[in-house]
């Protein structure tokens, strides 16, 4: 059964005239020609539906229309055209601690914030102890929240929100706050919510939590629905376009190339074991990352290094050149090529983003650090000689090595 059904939702904002704050401004804006007003379609013809119990992730750049979509679904603002229907009690969390008042105590704010989020008083009373326990602020319950630290404040605010118990939950990027430990606790709580059969729409810039929490992801771009499908797939697509790179990148203009007066990057590429430049790599084969750079100022020790990230944004590893013979040697001016080879049967399948960098360690100085300079896709093999063997299902993990197993019968 479809719980959320959105049809051709569009939202238009008129920017040119700004929002008139006074009568005078309104009068002057009436005489502005229409073409002077900039019209922005924050959302254009967005249609989708979400089934019961589904957890849908929403990704996209800032200004892509994610927040506008959430605001429309939460009934905070109305669409310019299009319709939507939502079955069941809707709870939306576009901000943590909405309506918190600094002069009121933690206790008072729990009730107030709960009511603002749409909880019934009896419901808040029932969950009160749980909320307090989750927030870990027991001793400060009757202190005005203005005396709280930011962390305490956020913990309390999120605890109230986390105990919201609607049938449809709409969550904006609210986890971007608080300490890591608490964030983890919140993510766990969110996952519980998703697994309890509730329908959830979740916006985040954190690709890791998106892929962890959602099976399905919608990618919004310029107010339109760009892609809709399996989380891993859409996130990979999104990250790929975001980096807009392939297996090779060449900087033709030295002025715009990454680097400084000491060293400048000229090119970077991904090579297969047969030396061909390619962005698709067999999981069983080694892959080489090559960088070409020009040292402009002689007399410094230069350490090339790479960082690999996966499509969820997780760092796979960092590697420094410390064994090529240039470890402690000062470099003379000239063009150098450094190649590092990652063995086969090591990386997991999926898109890998390579950050290319060069630094001097003493004194510490980063000459360039080109994020996601090149990318490649690791393709798993169905032949049975890779780490997955004959297994055909999804295999989690940032690496997929073949390890030595020993199994013996004890009888």
């Amino acid at each position: 059964m479809q719980v959320i059904n959105a049809e051709n939702l569009s939202k238009r904002y008129v920017l040119g005239s700004r929002q008139p704050y006074s009568f005078r401004e309104m009068l002057t804006s009436m005489f502005e020609r229409d073409d002077e007003k900039r019209i922005l379609w924050a959302l254009r013809d967005v249609s989708f539906s979400v089934g019961e119990g589904e957890t849908l992730g929403l990704i996209g750049h800032n200004g892509a229309g994610k927040s506008t979509l959430l605001k429309i679904l939460s009934r905070i603002t109305k669409p310019t055209s299009g319709t939507a229907s939502i079955r069941g009690r809707v709870g939306s969390l576009l901000e943590v601690g909405t309506g918190f008042h600094s002069e009121l105590s933690g206790r008072e704010n729990i009730y107030l914030n709960g009511a603002i989020l749409g909880m019934k008083r009896a419901e808040i009373e029932k969950k009160f102890d749980e909320i307090v326990a989750f927030s870990e602020i027991e001793t400060f319950l009757d202190t005005p929240v203005k005396h709280y630290s930011t962390g305490m404040y956020m913990r309390l605010a999120f605890s109230v929100a986390a105990h919201l118990d609607p049938e449809v939950l709409i969550v904006d990027e609210v986890l971007a706050v608080g300490d890591v430990g608490f964030q983890r606790k919140c993510l766990r709580k969110m996952r519980d919510v998703g697994e309890s059969g509730r329908t959830v729409i979740f916006v985040s810039h954190d690709m890791q939590s998106i892929t962890r929490l959602c099976r399905r992801v919608i990618w919004m771009k310029d107010g339109e629905l760009r892609s809709d499908g399996e989380a891993k797939h859409v996130v990979g697509e999104y990250l790929h376009e975001q980096s807009q790179t392939g297996a090779e990148k060449i900087w033709l203009e030295p002025d715009t190339a990454p680097g400084n007066e000491v060293v400048r990057l000229r090119s970077a590429r991904v090579r297969r074991s047969d030396r061909s430049v390619s962005s698709s790599i067999d999981i069983r084969q080694p892959v080489s990352i090559e960088m070409e750079y020009e040292v402009l100022q002689s007399g410094k020790v230069i350490v090339p290094n790479i960082q690999l990230n996966n499509e969820q944004g997780a760092s796979i590893f960092v590697s420094h050149d410390w064994n090529s013979g240039w470890r402690d040697k000062e470099r003379g001016a000239g063009v150098y090529t450094s190649v590092v080879t990652v063995p086969g049967n090591f990386l997991s399948e999926g898109t890998v983003f390579v950050t290319i960098a060069a630094a001097t360690h003493q004194p510490h100085e980063i000459h360039f650090n080109e994020r996601d300079a090149v990318t490649f896709n690791v393709i798993d093999s169905p032949d049975g000689d890779a780490a997955r063997g004959e297994f055909a299902g999804p295999m989690p993990g940032v690496v997929r090595p073949i390890l030595e197993w020993k199994t013996e019968t004890m009888t």
Partner: protein
């Protein structure tokens, strides 16, 4: 899981015709907590706290009494002037305070408007209701003063709550109107205090309506406060009701209330985009 049959429909535009009182009823607990919050924070961080609630009407009454029973005398019939003034001031201070607070209620609660949904009417409503707390104190002082002056109420006193209720309607109507206008036009912040001052002078607060010439009386009654104040005093002090005056004021109040709600409803949908 989704066992409730509750379905939310989202459409462009809104119908002005429906006031959605049912929706407000559904959110009554939020109204309660917002009202409670407004009462609690009003006097936080003040030195004498709630004493302000008592001091305001008492001091103003004292000043009026000194001025108007020594320099200019008004014919307040059998009613002692302090009683007369306090009965008017109690209601007026309530109207003035709740409209001022309500007019800023959206501007001061931006995140409530841009981050959560609930019937918007609740915000100015809570501001007005929170001020009722002040009114209770003024009325309490009034009762004490009535005992002091030996004013014995007649059976007409049962009509007094009706006029208090009409005062509440008036405060809510104007509070709602200005809260909405303030979202769109920040001129309200400057215009409103001035308007309230003129309104106070134009209302029979420290002078009786009988002061006005017969010809202009009914014109003055277009100000809803005229009929409400006169009616309230008649009820309290057992004076004859001027039904004509009260009738005109009530009709005017009804029109103003509907108009305010209409404007509010028309602007409501745009709040989140404008604020």
């Amino acid at each position: 899981m989704t066992d409730s049959t509750e379905v939310t429909y989202i459409k462009p535009g809104g119908s002005v015709a429906s006031l959605d009182l049912g929706e407000i009823w559904k959110y009554r607990e939020l109204l309660y907590f917002l009202t409670l919050r407004d009462i609690k924070i009003r006097y936080k961080q003040t030195l004498i706290g709630v004493a302000w609630v008592v001091l305001q009407p008492v001091l103003t009454t004292a000043i009026f009494t000194i001025i108007f029973s020594t320099f200019a005398r008004f014919d307040t019939k059998s009613v002692p002037y302090p009683l007369f003034a306090l009965s008017g001031l109690g209601l007026w201070l309530f109207v003035q305070t709740s409209i001022s607070l309500a007019s800023n209620s959206f501007v001061n609660n931006t995140s409530l408007i841009t981050k959560v949904y609930f019937p918007r009417l609740i915000v100015p409503l809570a501001a007005a209701l929170a001020t009722l707390f002040d009114l209770l104190f003024s009325l309490g002082i009034l009762v004490i003063l009535m005992f002091y002056y030996g004013a014995s109420p007649t059976s007409q006193i049962v009509a007094a709550p009706l006029f208090v209720f009409l005062t509440l309607v008036l405060a809510v109507a104007f509070g709602t109107l200005f809260s909405a206008l303030n979202v769109r036009f920040r001129d309200v912040k400057f215009a409103l205090p001035f308007m309230l001052q003129v309104w106070m002078i134009a209302s029979p607060i420290f002078y009786p309506a009988s002061l006005l010439s017969e010809k202009w009386r009914l014109v003055f009654a277009l100000n809803p406060l005229t009929g409400i104040l006169e009616g309230f005093r008649s009820a309290l002090f057992g004076l004859p009701f001027d039904w004509q005056l009260i009738g005109v004021s009530c009709a005017s109040l009804a029109v103003l209330t509907l108009l305010s709600l209409f404007i509010f409803k028309k602007m409501e949908d745009k709040f989140a985009d404008l604020i």
